[in-house]
Symmetry: C2
Subunit: 679 residues, 2 copies
């Protein structure tokens, strides 16, 4: 059970033991109190509890330069316990990040401020990732640390050589994703990853004891971590622990015993987790901290001391610039291009050549295999890609011959065996993309999008170009049955803002989708790929990337256009066969391939109307649920022609793929019949 | 590194050491080989590797009666490593489950067979839960074990007193959900939960070493488990370990060192994980097993021995029936009702009384609070409910005064502190519902549906009535920002087959939604509830449950009906205010509240057309994305009147709720303007 008694005497002892440290930490505590109180919302206790750890980290260890926040070789600081956002805002303001003005701190959690309720990537410099959904930060950090290892191996220590520091709370460690993350970090011996566990024994519902008795020290050791257990308010102990962690040669977890809301009446209680806004209690707490100035007022000497910390790394930054200047021009260009996120110049030509070759050879292959063919062409010219799979390498076709395996003895390897950890993989990929210099992709079965979902949403929310290679994308996977057969997943992904969902119908569209994914800077992509073979439908070579328009006329009606068939992926073949049936009966039928709804929706209305003109009957066919399709069946329809859908009405079943398509009625005949019934 | 050498001598030694055991295990192995070969698809190696453990468990320990598979007090056997489904099908066939005929085994993975690729709940008796998505089974098992503890406390040992056994593979243990499950089981000291870890050191990509070096024994110990490490082919060791596990007083993990595909040429390789169909290799393996009969032929003596195991529990079953008959009539009735899943008789009257009272008092409360009001009325009359929250008890309002806390010293408690484990909570709830006798509900923030998603899908796929209490269901939660603000989650859930998504607009609809959720037998429910206060809109008491129709006319047009406004949840208030604006301008406006799309879609077309007649302009308003709404805006539209949507176009932001509604333009004025622009 935690300390439930409130012990002001400890505060006095702490303060007097190391007054210089204490004052700096007190500045964080006071700003946290003031920020939350002004917002009348937020989480005060965590920043107060972890102020000592953060102060020591920033003062003595974190390699950063507040005036050069984009320095690629800075240490990364990740607040996995994102609800304690005032901690990072206070640190950024105190150390002198230019965008983190006092005005921003005062506008904590208000419209338009960069000081969002939880740290949002892209709002404030120094916020390395979006956190709040618990466990994500610690799992991102594994990707950051992997990116660092990879780039260090590729560019050398003089260009990349830094640590990744994380503050994680009990919530982060209870979330399952943390296990995937720490096991992966342990396996990869990510020795530059250092996690501080804010061991305050408090969750929202009460003491941790209510729901957990895990021995976290033993747990991290079981995953191969170096672990220390310290008093999180003892500056000297914190410093010594970080020194030891750096030398450990392993990922390191420092269990920091802290008091949530230290010195406040709510100390060591779940109330202390939330917004502490009572004026009297705030005044009392500030008095205990020896803090005598008004709200948001930081005494000049303390602010100066913090700003000195903020500029401590400037010499290092300059030295880094000088070292970087000695790197070869081509390496510099490659580095800069990868960090900016530009695609290699050769990408376009490579994709065009592949498309041309494929259009000529017209192979019949699964699009997961198509994807591998594209990667085989693309990986050699994209040194920034790091591929992987959640233990489905041979099924996802994500590994190409040139990549090599990323491992403790081969940091130049660019293929990651993530293990059966879809969520951890997605979060690690987010971390790599956020680090910069890396363009990650990773695969699993489309159905297990479910497992990766919280991190996939964050890819979209943060606007980072992670590519999800999701194979076995329908009942077409066959015998594995409904647990493995996505039916609602396309809808889920399409409903998610800022996610490009590509469902290519053949190798040519797959190549186009990959080109778009690899060229994206602010939008993640999901490639929905088949297990089963599909014919090449794009046999007429076009240099233009037709997939970039989202949807296009694959085959137009001969004679009077009476029917428009819309389809994606494996069902485009069915639509084409249905067109044959209908045309044979004299019914003019257009087939529209729609590999990416989001890009189609982004086209000008005039283009969309050219592809989907009013008048003809519309039938969509997709081996998933109808949900969302009405947007195209009816939503954009000019005249009130009839529309229908051929697809799944519920979950799948276990049987060979061809049997399932037949039994669920997703056939050319069914599509043709549906169209005729509407004419 | 694993044994990569193939050691036939071990097989002979094993076989001769315990020939009776060996023959029975060989029957499993032979059927697994034959079943997978016939399907030309599936996973042979795992059933072969775990045949010894399964044989000992079924022969010596598992309390079951093959002829009475629904015996409520049977031990539960859960194959978390669901890809090894032939193991359970073989066991069920051999022990004499009537539905598991040889014909079914021969039709493994074929259309219409109960022998699906992965075990599907509801197909074959003896399949306690649907597995395949890894980690789910072990996490379900925590719910099974909690249900057993709860029911034992409630009904006494003579009615419920059984174990839950699980076979989990490396994949299960790598998935993050396993950590949530084992930590929760450790915290709750679920001493009747026994997990066998199939420690075969092989995953699909290769050896476990490729992606993991976790010391699983240490890891389980860190969570408070009793752990043993044995040779998984040594029948005596397996038996002794199970005996010790039962006595341990803790949840128990038995690490079983096994050889995947033992005795087959693919032994100890990742190839052994998949379908082993080579005839010569199969013949060699069978020869090593001493198996001389043809495909699917089990010698009569071995089948008899297995059937004796299958009927071993019959006397226990009869004794249980006799004990159960001594229980009071009211307890028997309660038990039977709860296991059948019938709602208490008083439920309807209780809900009606609450609705009447609410309609009169017309409180302005958040629907999460409305939900608490309903639970406060309902929990006392539903002894089968077990509530909980993933560490958001005070926010989800899931705890009512009468429940008590389920804990090691209070198994009668009906409220579970799940900790920050949304996924583990959902999977545990699935386990409770599957066990029978319990109707679980649990809460988190709507946005963290993402974390629980894989288990929520399985609730729907299995058709079990779990209730998800998802609060803070839009930007209306305010300052916590976009990581906490669902925008696509309603679409995700609505796209999922067999999921009732309720988004009530006030306390009356909340009560109706709860009545439907608590009466459901085969469909899970998600309640989408607000953080912010809403007025009571249903001020005119109706005894009928209007929510059961999915959508209904809340306020009809006065004068000529020119506009239909559709809305759910917190936006119904906005639609009503928009109606006021429009009516004031003489524009006849109907407001349709749509608390449950799925139930509305299930109504007869004539009803749907009465609610949403063709002709008027339609505007939908919901603080989420438009995705899916076209179904109602256009899909069912008779005449081509215009339609519009007022809602979110992307992610939310951090600011007070009222600011967000204003900034994102989700206001009565915006709705009225949208309608007018379409007229």
């Amino acid at each position: 059970m935690p300390d439930t008694s409130f012990e002001p005497i400890d505060i006095a002892t702490l303060a007097s033991a190391n007054p210089d440290h204490w004052k700096k930490a007190a500045a964080i505590r006071a700003l946290a109190l003031d920020g939350v109180a002004a917002a009348n919302s937020g989480h005060t206790g965590m920043p107060i509890g972890m102020a000592d750890v953060a102060t020591v980290l920033f003062e003595k260890h974190l390699k950063f330069d507040a005036k050069n926040p984009d320095w690629p070789d800075r240490d990364r600081f990740i607040l996995s316990a994102g609800h304690g956002s005032m901690l990072v805002y206070a640190l950024l303001h105190l150390t002198g990040y230019e965008d983190m003005t006092l005005e921003q701190v005062k506008n904590f959690r208000q419209w338009g401020a960069i000081t969002a309720g939880h740290p949002e990537f892209g709002h404030a410099k120094g916020v390395e990732t979006t956190t709040g959904p618990l466990g994500q930060g610690i799992a991102n950090s594994v990707g950051f640390a992997m990116a660092e290892e990879s780039l260090r191996a590729h560019y050398g220590k003089k260009v990349i050589d830094h640590h990744t520091y994380v503050i994680a709370g009990d919530g982060c460690l209870m979330e399952g994703i943390s296990q995937e993350a720490i096991a992966l970090a342990g396996r990869q011996e990510l020795s530059k990853l250092i996690v501080f566990w804010d061991n305050n024994n408090i969750t929202i519902d009460g003491t941790v004891e209510l729901s957990d008795r895990t021995d976290q020290v033993m747990r991290f050791k079981s995953a191969g971590w170096h672990v220390q257990d310290i008093d999180g308010h003892d500056a000297a102990a914190i410093d010594a622990a970080i020194v030891a962690a750096k030398k450990s040669g392993k990922p390191s977890m420092i269990a920091c015993k802290t008091h949530i809301a230290l010195g406040h009446a709510a100390q060591d209680t779940s109330k202390g987790h939330g917004a502490l806004t009572d004026a009297a209690a705030m005044a009392e707490a500030k008095a205990r901290y020896g803090w005598t100035t008004g709200p948001f007022e930081v005494p000049a000497d303390i602010k100066s001391a913090w700003e000195a910390i903020g500029s401590r790394g400037n010499a290092d930054f300059t030295a880094w610039q000088e070292r970087f200047a000695t790197v070869s021009g081509s390496k510099q260009a490659e580095f800069n291009r990868a960090f900016v996120g530009d695609a290699p110049k050769k990408l376009s030509a490579t994709i065009k050549a592949l498309k041309k070759s494929i259009s000529e050879k017209a192979p019949s292959v699964a699009t997961r295999k198509s994807s591998e063919m594209v990667l085989a062409a693309v990986n050699p010219i994209c040194s920034e890609t790091i591929g992987g799979s959640a233990d489905l390498t041979g099924s996802n076709n994500t590994k190409t011959a040139d990549l090599g395996v990323f491992d403790t003895d081969n940091r130049k390897g660019r293929y990651v065996y993530y293990g059966i950890r879809e969520h951890g993989m997605a979060a690690a990929m987010n971390g790599m993309a956020l680090h910069g210099g890396i363009r990650p992709y990773g695969g699993t079965f489309m159905c297990f999008t479910d497992y990766a979902r919280p991190s996939m949403r964050l890819s979209a929310l943060m606007g980072i170009p992670v590519t999800y290679v999701m194979t076995h994308d329908s009942i077409g996977l066959g015998e594995d049955g409904p647990t493995h057969q996505p039916v609602e997943h396309l809808a889920m992904l399409r409903a998610t803002p800022n996610m490009h969902v590509f469902r290519p119908c053949d190798t040519v569209e797959t190549a186009e989708a990959w080109e778009l994914a690899l060229s994206s800077k602010e939008t993640p992509a999901t490639l929905s790929l088949t297990r089963q073979n599909l014919p090449t439908l794009r046999t007429e070579h076009k240099t233009k990337n037709l997939t970039s328009q989202g949807a296009y006329v694959l085959a137009d009606a001969e004679g009077k256009r009476q029917v428009i068939l819309m389809a994606t992926g494996s069902e485009v073949e069915i639509a084409m066969a249905a067109r044959d049936i209908l045309q044979a009966e004299g019914i003019g039928t257009r087939v529209v391939s729609m590999p990416c709804w989001e890009l189609f929706a982004a086209q000008e209305e005039s283009y969309r109307k050219r592809v989907l003109p009013g008048g003809p009957v519309r039938v969509a066919v997709e081996a998933g649920v109808q949900f969302g399709w009405d947007q195209w069946l009816s939503g954009e329809r000019g005249k009130a022609a009839k529309a229908g859908f051929v697809g799944m009405e519920g979950f799948g079943a276990s049987a060979p793929a061809e049997v399932l398509y037949e039994k669920f009625g997703i056939t050319a005949l069914a599509v043709a019949d549906k169209a005729k019934s509407l004419l």
